[in-house]
Amino acid sequence: MKKILMGNHAVSYGALLSRVEVIAAYPITPQTQVVEELSKMCAQGKLKARYINVESEHSAMAACIAAEQAGARTFTATSSHGLTLMHELLHWAAGARLPIVMANINRSMAPGWSIWTDQNDSLSQRDTGWLQIYCESNQEVFDSIIQAYKIAERVLLPVMVVLDAFVLSHTYEPVDIPEQELVDQFLSKLDYPYKLDVKNPCSFGSLLPPEYYLELRYKMQKAMEEAHDVIIKVDKEYQQMFGRSYGGLVEEYRTEDAELVLVASSTVASTARMVVEQLRDEGVKVGMIKMRFFRPFPTQEVVNALKGKKKVAVIDRNISYGQGGIFCEEIRSVLYNIDQHERPPVFGYIAGLGGRDITPTTIREILSHTLKEDKPKENIIWIGVKH
C-alpha cells in the first residue's frame, strides 16, 4: 500500500513493521514525529511494544541496551545533541554486541543553535562500532529500517539509519508500505543468543582484564568486515521480496565511462543525480557514487568505482576540524594503496553546513571547478562562504 509519509513517519512505519518490542525515546527537533507516531501506534495497540518515556537520550540508549540484553527487539530515534549525549552508550551497545536499530535525523551541533541538517552529529560517532546508513528518500528510510534489523541481528552490531533534517524528516513523499506478512517472512523473530535469563544466570559486561579485551575488539572488527557481505545479501533478498534495492553499500550512477566522478551522500545524492543527468546531456562525462554506508566503509566499492578515473569530487556536509571533509578523507585514504597511475586527484568540497541549501547550482559550481582545475590546490574547497 502506498502512503504519503513524511520522512519521520517512514521511520515509525519501519519500526512498526519490524515489530519492535521495546522503544525508549526522548523528543528532540527534528525527530519528534518519529516518536509521536510510535507512541500513538503503541497506545492504539497497532504495535505491541513497551514505550518508555525516558528523561533523556542517555537513558533512552541505556534502556534500549538493557532491554535488548534481556532479549527484546528495541528501537529509538534521536538527533544531534541527543545523539552526542548518547555517545558513551553507543560504545556500550556495540561493545555488548547488541543489534539495536536507531534512527538519527542529521542536525547540526550548537553553538549557535541550529536545527538544520548536516552530518557532524552522526559522523562524530564514527568509531563507536555502529553501522551507519545514509538515506536519500523516504522510501529508502523505510526500507533501510527493516534491512537494518536483519543486518544487525546477523552480525550482532547496532545500526544507525540516518536522514537529513527537514529535507527528508519533514518532507512528504509516497512510500510503499508492504504487507506485514511479507516483512515477517523477511525478518524473522529476534532470537538473541545471549540474554538475561533467570534460568541461565550469566553476568554481562563484567570487568575484563587485558588478557581478554583485545580479542573482543578484534571480533567486533571482524563482525564489521562480515557486515559487508551481509549488507549486499540482505539488499538482494530485499529486492527479491519487495522489488527495491539500493546497491548494498554504495550506488553507482553513470560511472562506467565517466571521467569525473562525484561522491555524495544523503539527499545531496538525489540533487546530484539530477545534475549529472543534465551534464551528461551537455556531453560531460560525469558520474556519481552515492555513499549509502559509511560504516562499514565500502572500501572495495569505492576503489572499483574510482580507480582509473580522471578526477573525483567529494561533497561533504560535515567537517573534521583540522583535517577536512570526513567522507573525502576516508576516500583519499582507501585510494592511497592503489597504483599511482590509476589514482585520481580527489577534490574535497565542503558545503551546506548548518542546513544551508545544496542546490543544483551548488553542485554545478562544484563540478565546473573540478573540471577546470588539474589538481586540488587546497585540502578543502569551501563552497558558498561569505567573507
Binding site: A24, K48, R50, I52, A63, W92, L196, F204, G205, S206
Partner: protein
C-alpha cells in the same frame, strides 16, 4: 538452650552469592547483597553500574552471584533497570524482580537524573543503594552522600566536608514513590523485612543501606557491624520506611543516651573534629530525628 540442640538461624539458608567475591575485608556491601538475595531469591535480575560491586562481582569469567547480572554505565542504573523490566513485561514475565544495585555516587550524584526519571514514571523496579558515603571504588573522594565533617581525599582534614549529607529518601518521597526505606547490616531482620515488603509492592521501590567501608572510613575491619549499629542507635542513620510517599514509620528507634561521639570516634575520617564539631553534629542529628518523629506523627493522622 539444650546442649546438643543445633543453633538455628532465623536467616534463610539459601544463598545466591558465592564465596570468593573480592570485596575488601569488613566491607558491608557483600553482606547487604547476601541478605537481599536471600529474600529476593533466584527470580531476580541485578543491574549494577560502575561502583565497588563492579569489582566485588568478580572479573570475567567469574561471577559471585547466582542470578543474572547486567553491568551498566555509571549514570544509567535506573534507566537500564527500566529497560530490563520493559522486556520482561512484553514477554509476560511478571514474577522476576528487577533490582538496580548502586553505590552512593551512582545514586545521589551521577545517577540521580535516571533515578528521578524512573521513579517519576513509577517503573516497576527495586532500587537499592548501598551507601559508603564517598567514591570508595576510585579511592575515597567525597560524594553528596558524604556526611558533614568527614575527611575524604577531596575534602582533606584541612578543609573537611562542609555540606550536610543529601537527604535521598526525602527526594524519593517527593516523587511519591510507593515504598522507600533505610536499612543497615547490623539489623538483618529489619533489612530483610523491608526487602520482603518491597518485593511485594508494584512500582518503584527504594532501599537505602548504610554500607560501612573500613578503608574509606579509616576504621578497623571488624567494626562494620558495630558502626552500623551505632549509626542507628545514635540516630545518625535512623531506620524507617515511607509507604505510599506519605506514611512514615520508624522500624528501629534510636537508643536514648548514645551520643554521636560513640559512632564518630570509631572512624579516623572524623579524627580531626573538635569537641565543638561533635556538638554541631549532635545538634543536627537531634534536630533531624525530631523532624522524622514529627513526620511519623503527622502521617498517623493522614
Amino acid at each position: 538452650m539444650d546442649r546438643g540442640q543445633a543453633l538455628k538461624t532465623t536467616i534463610p539458608e539459601e544463598d545466591y552469592m558465592t564465596s570468593g567475591h573480592i570485596a575488601c575485608s569488613g566491607c558491608a556491601a557483600p553482606i547487604a547483597m547476601r541478605y537481599c538475595l536471600k529474600v529476593l531469591g533466584e527470580k531476580t535480575i541485578m543491574v549494577v553500574p560502575a561502583c565497588c560491586w563492579t569489582i566485588i562481582a568478580g572479573p570475567f569469567p567469574y561471577s559471585s552471584l547466582k542470578v543474572p547480572l547486567l553491568h551498566t554505565a555509571f549514570e544509567t542504573t535506573a534507566a537500564a533497570a527500566s529497560g530490563v523490566r520493559a522486556t520482561l513485561d512484553i514477554k509476560g514475565d511478571t514474577e522476576t524482580t528487577v533490582v538496580g544495585w548502586a553505590g552512593d555516587g551512582g545514586t545521589f550524584d551521577i545517577g540521580i537524573q535516571a533515578l528521578s526519571g524512573a521513579v517519576e514514571r513509577n517503573e516497576n523496579i527495586l532500587y537499592i543503594c548501598y551507601d559508603n558515603e564517598a567514591y570508595m571504588n576510585t579511592g575515597i573522594q567525597r560524594s553528596s552522600a558524604t556526611p558533614w565533617g568527614a575527611w575524604t581525599t577531596t575534602t582533606p582534614a584541612e578543609r573537611p566536608e562542609d555540606k550536610p549529607k543529601k537527604d535521598i529518601i526525602e527526594i524519593l518521597v517527593a516523587h511519591q514513590i510507593p515504598y522507600a526505606a533505610t536499612a543497615t547490616v547490623a539489623y538483618p531482620h529489619d533489612l530483610m523485612a523491608k526487602v520482603n515488603k518491597a518485593k511485594g509492592i508494584k512500582g518503584s521501590r527504594f532501599i537505602h543501606i548504610l554500607s560501612p567501608c573500613p578503608p574509606g572510613w579509616r576504621m578497623p575491619d571488624e567494626l562494620t557491624i558495630k558502626a552500623s549499629r551505632l549509626a542507628v542507635q545514635t540516630g545518625i542513620f535512623p531506620l524507617y520506611e515511607v509507604e505510599s510517599g506519605r506514611k512514615y514509620t520508624i522500624t528501629v528507634p534510636r537508643k536514648e543516651g548514645v551520643p554521636v561521639g560513640e559512632y564518630l570516634k570509631l572512624q579516623r575520617r572524623f579524627a580531626h573534629l573538635k569537641p565543638e564539631d561533635y556538638d554541631t553534629i549532635q545538634n543536627n542529628v537531634d534536630r533531624a530525628y525530631d523532624r522524622l518523629l514529627r513526620k511519623v506523627k503527622q502521617s498517623e493522622t493522614l
